[in-house]
Subunit: 502 residues, 2 copies
């Protein structure tokens, strides 16, 4: 299927080329070269979500790439001019009655450059395979190969999505083919921070962005290698938790038999939130979850069980799960400790009792969870452990009064989950289109493990949305050495084309 | 007493000065000026224990300060020339039969400059009071005041000790007074890392350093403000603990209902080591502790209970203790989490499940504890929580085999505790000498909460040792804004003089 899929891409991009004697490892180089070159140029633009000025350059470059393909594009600016703009583009098709909006995002998670091994986050490099499989740098003179991997921040999440949309447009333009529907495009720059301003921008440009349905191009194939059609995404809730010892770090000898150690206290507090098997112990955590329908349960039952393979690949012997399989568990909320910090470790450690200990806490939420209620439940849990919960560092009076003090700072970017039925007309239409372009079965996922601002889209436009995952699942998005496998990238273009042309 | 003590210092340093009409807030400036100037110059030399080259400059400066006072001094070099040298000095007294060795150290804990508020660690500054009490910078033109504080790394721990010894020598020289005993001096540069090479250097220079007894000048007064005579110090044990999740950080949405989170695992593992009241749950932790004698128990009973005052000052409402008072608890071993780290917190946090979580673990040990046995007990405890304990990062095979993996890396600088009976002849002699110079009662501590390389001293030289604490107890040693109160500093000189002259 992968071979055919590539063939299809090339055929569309290079109609004059003969494919007699085509082999998977011999792609006619020049025809994908321009697209990969554009991709690398976009990846070279830093898109760190904490650097809005840099992100704006990404938006400008994407405008240029749309215009280069003959598509009108413009920036939609949030009221706050420090916020990265939204790229909007449109391809009106004479006679078409339906309008489909494709969404992707250009912002990327802040990288930790020290941990990248083959290259730096904004210096894209092509390897012959994944790093784990001994990939070596390859040069543009060589023929592209589906197993090649492009390494850079956002190579997968989600400049792969941006470039796959642009690649599909190129393919249509190259063959002078018109889409079957009107196309609109939204490429935003704030997805990784929770799309706080997206709803505002969409509302402010209501008529411009009006569409029947949205298709999100963001995410990976199922770990079985099958294309994933995803009809919901989990919501997200963030908070920072700090607990306190003495006002200042204390000599670890003089006070260790006396002063409370906040690192120990944080450990106990966090431990109280989850059992050894991964079941969350916060009261009400699983309450209110909207049950899956018959069709959704059937889709999960049909999803290949890749848990054993995943454990081997990810490097752990025992999963922590509340249900039976990862596919099933993604339809339950989860609690994530994104980080803990107190004092110092390793060579940086000194003989001190730390004065504070902090944790970054996230929850992934499913349909039926309200993020504010979930945050309240967690605060109530902390109180039940004997803590007073403050929203500020304790005063001297509070220190003297309360034996256990926790500070909670709510994060930004929290939102609820969204899901459409897999047997809704829009879902059935997309499934049919994608299946027509795929020889292998596709995986139907009621809920993705990750989060997307589907609620903001529905609130602002009333449109339904779903998402398509096509990048390799081992893309290490958000982490060091993020990458996209070229075979998956071109396959994604095929999938988008199938939908655009249906 | 503090007033008299200051008067005494000045009297010795300036025999020609009349003290009629003397007031505590009007010190004749020039007479302490030189000593404080020398002190500030020494504090301006970086002495970060991780920078041996910088530390050597401290040793050279201390040699100069001894020679300036007419005392012969030399460097004793460890075999490893990256290790800071030991300063040795000697004052032979005609006719004296007993030899007393005074010990201090010039190395300091690595500072965290970002956290210092009034000055930088190696830019000493004099304030009119403590920062907490609204201290403002004072100039050398003003009269010294006992409440003034000198802020810099090692202002208390332990360049105050070094300078108090040098101040006492100045006082004797200024009055042409001979000590009653032969004096030797050891100022080492490796105390904060566990004095790993001290024993070797002492053995290599056995005849040179030979003395009847050692007096350690390092540490603070009791929190009641009374001078502390301390006849033992706790031992120390260090290890780093790391637990593992997946091989790489994972997307927190895609894998949070599946992959183990090492931050949560570390929290559970650490939590299992101690109960909510501070009692350590590691099997054998309190076994083997050598019981205190009748005299030691009596000394503890006489120690003022400052726990309530300390809690108010340090800023917490409930102590964590295994016994009744801090004074009593310092005679029990303690477990310290010096730091925990996994992923990132606050604004640096990203939507990832961390791949590892680490803790820096310390134990303060008492007489009867063997540090290696205590480390073994902790490793056994970790195994009892279901972990395999490795001394290396897990291989793929180990990851696939063991559901719970911990790596233990033993730290350097671990050693056992030491204590001499408070009714031994040496102890009784020191107590008498110091009491003769103090109008207030002194506190007799069987064991200090902190650690000193007393075992290395006994192993290498056979000498007994005790220590005297005179710096203000709120000196923030090891932490940011370390400081010494000048009143305490000059009082320390008096105490040393009383011993030297007895």
């Amino acid at each position: 299927m992968r071979k055919l899929s590539f063939l299809c891409s090339i055929l569309l991009l290079t109609p004059a080329l003969s494919f007699a004697g085509y082999h998977q490892d011999q792609f006619p180089q020049p025809y994908q070269a321009q697209l990969i070159q554009d991709f690398e140029k976009l990846l070279a633009l830093p898109n760190d979500l904490t650097q809005p000025e840099n992100q704006k350059q990404n938006a400008q470059e994407i405008i240029r790439l749309f215009k280069q393909r003959g598509i009108q594009a413009q920036l939609l600016l949030p009221e706050n001019d420090h916020i990265p703009p939204v790229v909007f583009a449109e391809w009106k098709v004479p006679g078409a009655t339906k309008t489909l909006l494709f969404y992707a995002h250009y912002d990327g998670v802040t990288p930790n450059p020290e941990k990248w091994t083959v290259t730096q986050p904004y210096h894209p490099v092509l390897l012959s395979h994944s790093i784990e499989n001994g990939g070596k740098p390859v040069t543009a003179e060589q023929q592209y190969n589906p197993d090649w991997r492009l390494y850079a921040r956002s190579a997968a999440d989600d400049k792969a999505g941006v470039m796959a949309i642009l690649g599909a447009i190129s393919a249509l333009k190259a063959t002078s083919t018109l889409p079957a529907v009107n196309l609109k495009f939204i490429i935003e720059g704030e997805e990784e921070t929770g799309s706080d301003y997206l709803e505002q921008v969409l509302k402010a440009n209501h008529d411009l962005v009006k569409s029947d349905d949205w298709i999100i191009i963001d995410g990976g194939v199922h770990a079985s290698g099958r294309k994933a059609l995803i009809f919901g995404a989990r919501g997200d809730m963030y908070m920072d938790l700090t607990v306190y010892g003495a006002k200042h770090p204390l000599h670890s000898g003089e006070y260790s038999s006396f002063a409370p150690n906040p690192a120990m206290r944080l450990a106990k507090l966090i431990s109280s939130m989850q059992d050894d098997k991964g079941h969350v112990l916060i009261k009400g955590f699983y309450a209110g979850v909207e049950p899956l329908g018959k069709q959704e349960l059937a889709a999960i039952a049909e999803t290949p069980n890749v848990d054993r393979q995943l454990k081997a690949q990810l490097g752990f012997a025992r999963e922590e799960t509340t249900g039976k399989t990862l596919a099933e568990d993604n339809n339950q909320p989860s609690l994530i400790i994104r980080g803990i910090n107190s004092g110092a470790v390793g060579n940086a450690a000194v003989n001190l009792i730390p004065s504070t200990a902090s944790a970054s806490i996230e929850m992934r939420l499913v349909k039926g969870n309200d993020w504010q209620k979930m945050a309240d439940n967690l605060m109530q849990h902390i109180r039940q452990q004997g803590y007073v919960v403050l929203d500020h560092d304790p005063t001297d009076t509070e220190r003297a009064r309360y034996p256990f003090i926790a500070k909670i700072t709510m994060g930004t970017g929290s939102y609820n989950a969204e899901r459409i039925p897999v047997d809704s007309p829009f879902a059935k239409w997309v499934i049919k289109a994608v299946k027509s372009a795929s020889k292998q079965p596709v995986v139907i996922q009621p809920t993705d493990g990750g989060s997307l601002p589907l609620v903001a889209i529905r609130n602002a436009t009333g449109a339904q949305s779903m998402s398509i995952g096509f990048v390799n699942y081992d893309n290490d998005q958000h982490a060091e050495n993020e990458n996209v496998r070229l075979g998956n990238f071109f396959d994604g273009i095929d999938t988008i084309l199938a939908i655009m042309k249906r």
